[in-house]
């Protein structure tokens, strides 16, 4: 009897025929399941697989990936906050370097003291040659000039040391609201000072104008290479010694932006590529005791924090951010 006849008979009788073995090819497998139900053919399904477990597993994977993503995002946020904090601290410190234009005025005092010694020596040379009766008066004024130059040198050295100490104190005392980050898988610490360097910005001269009213001194300084010819300013970070016998005196002029059209340059941030180091004031959070030969006009601050993970003790690293800041420039002469 054909299969279709048997299927028709089942429908009428309501009894299920004996089905062939599952391994045998079943022609009615191609029938729609609804026909199978009407025909009383039991449904056949595979015994392996569990969608609930699959969904749970996928949910777990998604949650894990999301948590890792959040942790990494938190790490990047901390990195950004570290950069912001470094900039803020650097700027606050730079604003204190040349308060009330002490550095600019000291540069000018050094230059004026130098010119005074030069003039006194010139008068003495003339008097010794032509007016010997005035020698004692010329000696008196020359001695006073030289003593004043030594006094100015001491004050300048004191200013350089005081500036460095002020920078260290400001950076150390700087309070911040930087909080630790504690997330699943990631932990970051509070930022600490790694390095503080004092120096200057490459390409910036001093704020001292060349002695255009003193022809002899101007010619001497031009020949000695002390003056930047394009700007008519003394070069920065020089020791403008006078000729013998006054070459034992130091006349150190440091870098500082000069006023332009009567306007003083404000303190500002700068790129680390143009910073030139003079002294390392702090290393690993502690003062090194280094001294600056010239009064610094710029500084570079590096903050760092550690990031670690609970996955492994070896899974830890350091985030560091550096920022350079330049002090305010000199003010015009009175």
């Amino acid at each position: 009897m054909p299969i279709e006849e048997k299927a028709r008979r089942i429908r009428k009788d309501g009894s299920a025929p004996q089905l062939p073995r599952a391994s045998a090819r079943r022609p009615f497998d191609c029938l729609h399941p609804s026909f199978k139900i009407e025909a009383g053919i039991p449904r056949t399904r595979p015994n392996t697989g569990n969608m609930l477990v699959l969904c749970a597993a996928m949910t777990g994977v998604i949650v894990t990936i999301s948590t890792l993503g959040i942790a990494l995002e938190g790490l990047l946020c901390q990195r950004g906050k570290l950069q912001t904090e470094t900039e803020r601290s650097a700027m606050a410190t730079a604003c204190l370097i040349n308060t009330s234009d002490t550095q600019g005025k000291m540069n000018n005092l050094v230059a004026h003291s130098r010119e005074l010694v030069f003039e006194s020596r010139t008068d003495k040379n003339i008097v010794d040659s032509n007016y010997p009766d005035l020698t004692s008066l010329a000696d008196q004024l020359l001695l006073e000039s030289r003593e004043s130059a030594i006094l100015i040198k001491v004050e300048r050295d004191q200013l350089a040391d005081a500036t460095a100490q002020e920078m260290i104190k400001t950076v150390t005392d700087n309070k911040n609201s930087f909080a630790e980050l504690s997330l699943p898988f990631i932990y970051t610490s509070r930022p600490t000072i790694w390095e503080l360097e004092a120096g200057f910005i490459d390409g910036i001269d001093s704020n001292v104008e060349s002695p255009t009213g003193n022809g002899e001194l101007l010619a001497l300084d031009m020949a000695s290479g002390y003056i930047q010819q394009t700007s008519n300013l003394y070069k920065g970070n020089i020791n403008a010694r006078l000729p013998s016998p006054d070459n034992d005196l130091d006349f150190k002029i440091s870098c500082l932006p000069a006023p332009v059209a009567g306007t003083t340059a404000p303190a500002r941030l700068a790129g680390c590529a143009v910073f030139r180091k003079q002294a390392l004031l702090m290393a690993n959070g502690a003062a090194t005791g280094s001294k600056c030969d010239q009064t610094p006009s710029a500084m570079k601050l590096t903050l760092r924090m550690t990031a670690s993970s609970e996955f492994s003790q070896d899974c830890k690293g350091t985030l560091a951010c550096s920022q350079t800041a330049l002090s305010a420039g000199g003010t015009p002469l009175p």
Partner: protein, 194 residues
């Protein structure tokens, strides 16, 4: 008649003697080839660094005034703690050999401080040397009457002292001699460098 003539002659002699005893009506020349004018100005809080020994900043502006022509800024002298610490030449000293030079102290605004007085005296001495070195003849210092005594005290710190009265039998040993007058006139002295 004879009595009247004698009386007139006596009166005339007395008048002549009295005139001879009076100083000259004016020993300040009305014109000099150059007048170096010194003006002092206090710079309050000029260098506000911590623990500094530089205090009481004074700026001396020195101007060259020719007999005919407009004045020119010559130099600025900087003073602190009663000592000269710097100079800034603005224009050269355009003196010729033999030019007569007077140094005038300009009356400051308000009563001068001791630092200003000390600075003015030192500036006078430096201008004297500059004038001598340039070949000028600087023998006169003019000062306001109210600053006359202080100027003399300041000059004493620079080793310029009032000359003792000249006597015919005692020579005076001094290489540098200047006269100081108050302007308007009333006081005068001779200062010698010792």
């Amino acid at each position: 008649m004879n009595k009247q003539v004698v009386a007139i002659l006596l009166f005339t002699c007395q008048l002549i003697i009295w005139q001879a005893q009076q100083p000259a009506a004016s020993q300040i020349k009305s014109t000099y080839d150059w007048t170096i004018q010194i003006e002092t100005k206090e710079l309050n809080n000029y260098y506000p660094a911590k623990d500094t020994n530089l205090r009481d900043f004074v700026l001396c502006n020195i101007t060259l005034c020719p007999a005919s022509g407009s004045p020119k800024n010559y130099e600025q002298l900087f003073y602190a703690s009663d000592r000269c610490i710097g100079a800034r030449r603005i224009n050269p000293l355009a003196l010729k050999h033999g030019d007569e030079v007077a140094i005038r102290l300009k009356r400051p605004e308000g009563p001068p401080s001791p630092s200003q007085t000390s600075a003015a005296a030192n500036a006078v001495v430096r201008c004297l040397l500059d004038a001598f070195a340039a070949g000028g003849i600087a023998t006169t210092i003019l000062t306001p009457p109210e600053a006359y005594l202080n100027t003399i005290q300041g000059m004493a710190r620079e080793k310029f002292f009032i000359a003792p009265p000249a006597t015919p039998d005692e020579p005076r040993y001094s290489k540098i001699s200047v006269h100081i007058y108050s302007e308007p006139e009333g006081q005068q002295d001779e200062l010698i460098y010792q």
